[in-house]
Symmetry: C2
Subunit: 340 residues, 2 copies
């Protein structure tokens, strides 16, 4: 079990300082207090609960068939941590609960929340055909959904990255380097977020003055279909750059391009989306759109606490950020390339 000494050791400060910070002593700076509290949550220091407002319990619900969170390298780990780093110091108990389709079929969302005495939930990984997505049309218990949007229910908020901004950054980056024929490769459009990114790609192209028809996009539930059908088709059409809906697809595209005899970024530029921990280590390192997952979790807490105060927040979007690495370069026939 984590002790105050463990936290002190990790931060290189005294036990007394940690204790003061945990108790909100006025002679400890706000910055240090925040750092100590966040580290305490991260290290699993459970004594914090002594100071908690046990009247209100919050939960993070993770659709375990779609998203992983248990280990630091899992996609949702930092999202869950960011949420807890805000909620626990504010005095809430946070339960992290895996859910699946069966649970959702057995209990309605409102009943589940009531049975467990949760005031609000933060829910990750629901696809459009998860049963609770239907419940949310009329449910009463506040919920914050990661990457899913329910219109017209004032108890439900949507938290995510600004996909339009992200796609705009990706397209503008490629355009600036001289690319004009840009394709888009996506997973199945059966999730809200991939529908949004798909639309955002075409909007971003339009904003940047490059109008393309639907043949410039390819999507499939199967990664192999994306790699063996759509990617070769985009390359045959003369695309000098391909934006992918997720880093996992972009990473596969890097390898598939090599298989097909295309060098990245010399023959074709590839851009991903998400900035997974793997991105700096792919070959070549992947240029991508970053969504800061810890911040997503913190935003979700803001949304949750505002729903609890009766403020009907609908959408909270984090700024997207372009991470330029080595998988993008000017196209071969461009002036900037010829000058090299």
């Amino acid at each position: 079990m984590t002790t105050i000494q463990d936290i002190a050791d990790k931060l290189g400060i005294t036990k007394g300082t940690v204790s003061k910070a945990l108790n909100g002593a006025p002679d400890i700076s706000e910055t240090l207090q925040k750092q100590v509290l966040e580290t305490a949550v991260e290290m699993g220091y459970t004594r914090l609960r002594r100071y908690k407002n046990t009247a209100k319990k919050l939960c993070v619900l993770v659709q375990k068939d779609n998203i992983q969170y248990e280990e630091p390298h899992h996609f949702a780990y930092d999202i869950v941590m960011g949420f807890r780093q805000m909620a626990e110091p504010a005095g809430y108990l946070v339960d992290v609960v895996p859910i699946d389709m069966n649970l959702q079929r057995r209990l309605s969302y409102d009943v589940f929340m009531l049975q467990n005495n949760y005031a609000v939930s933060f829910i990750l990984g629901l696809s459009l055909n998860d049963p609770w997505m239907h419940d949310f049309q009329t449910s009463h218990t506040p919920a914050v959904l990661y990457d899913n949007q329910i219109l017209s229910n004032s108890s439900i908020a949507y938290v995510g990255v600004d996909n339009s901004e992200g796609m705009d950054l990706a397209v503008a980056h490629l355009k600036k380097m001289g690319h004009r024929k840009i394709g888009y490769l996506s997973g199945a459009l059966g999730s809200h977020i991939l529908q949004v990114r798909h639309r955002a790609f075409f909007q971003a192209m339009h904003h940047n003055g490059i109008d393309v028809d639907s043949s410039y996009a390819g999507s499939s539930y199967y990664l192999t279909v994306c790699m063996e059908k759509h990617l070769p088709r985009l390359l045959d059409m003369g695309c000098t750059a391909v934006i992918c809906s997720q880093d996992t697809i972009a990473n596969a595209a890097l390898m598939q391009c090599e298989q097909l005899g295309y060098s990245v970024p010399n023959d074709v530029s590839i851009i991903g989306f998400d900035d997974l921990p793997i991105c700096p280590y792919t070959s070549p390192p992947l240029t991508t759109i970053r969504q800061d997952r810890t911040e997503i979790g913190k935003c979700a807490y803001y949304a949750a606490s505002s729903l609890m105060s009766g403020i009907s927040i609908g959408t909270v979007l984090l700024h997207a950020q372009l991470m330029v690495r080595n998988s993008t370069a000017p196209p071969l026939n461009s002036k900037s390339r010829q000058a090299l």
Copy 2:
């Protein structure tokens, strides 16, 4: 000057309870504390400042040429109040400062903020040609903009109502009553928010399966052009319903329809946007899309405090709400009308 007794009288509780609530005593419920603090701010109780973290000053900046806030019936009054009701109990000093074009030309945004030692601003009423809108492309001091969006600057957040959701509610309401020919009347498209609503109207029509060309929308900086040119044109085209970009335009349309010999809602339905205090008192009372202005102010505080914590929130949208009053009804030739 407001005293504790004044607050106690207003809420019908004892002076002792008010005092305890202001000091966060543990035997006062969270709900009551919140109510006392919000009332104290609303009544101008200044002693609260004794408990304040004077290290951080926030400001609400109002472009006074475009928006009014001084009196309770002014559009921005509740927005400013909502922001203060969150920020002041949290320990911040809030200055409300009117700004104009001259000030913006004289000082850059960052310099203004630095000179006045403000940590973050909440800014209302900027149009696209206000000089600071250009500064925000590269400014460093956090700002929360009401109804204005700056992409790709992680220090700037956008707060407003979800206009897409609002237009969707308006169109779906009209469609359900049997309307198919629906027009849109807008102020000049020189502000971000009116551009967004204009686009949202066409998207909402598309979502609801009614595709219309651009002749179904009319916009002008001059209210008289909207009333004397665009509204008669939409009516001549056979529109049985008109959605307006703002309540002020809708209210003028109600009167103009009467002048033109059209009865509202018998001959034509009119829907506004904003839910200004006047809406229940127009003739007939106006069906409109509500943006809760106090909640907008509170959301803005959430965004501001998250920017101060280094979380790069980009967008916070409040749920829109349809307020059905008497300016909408089924069209004359519809089945639902014939059954009456």
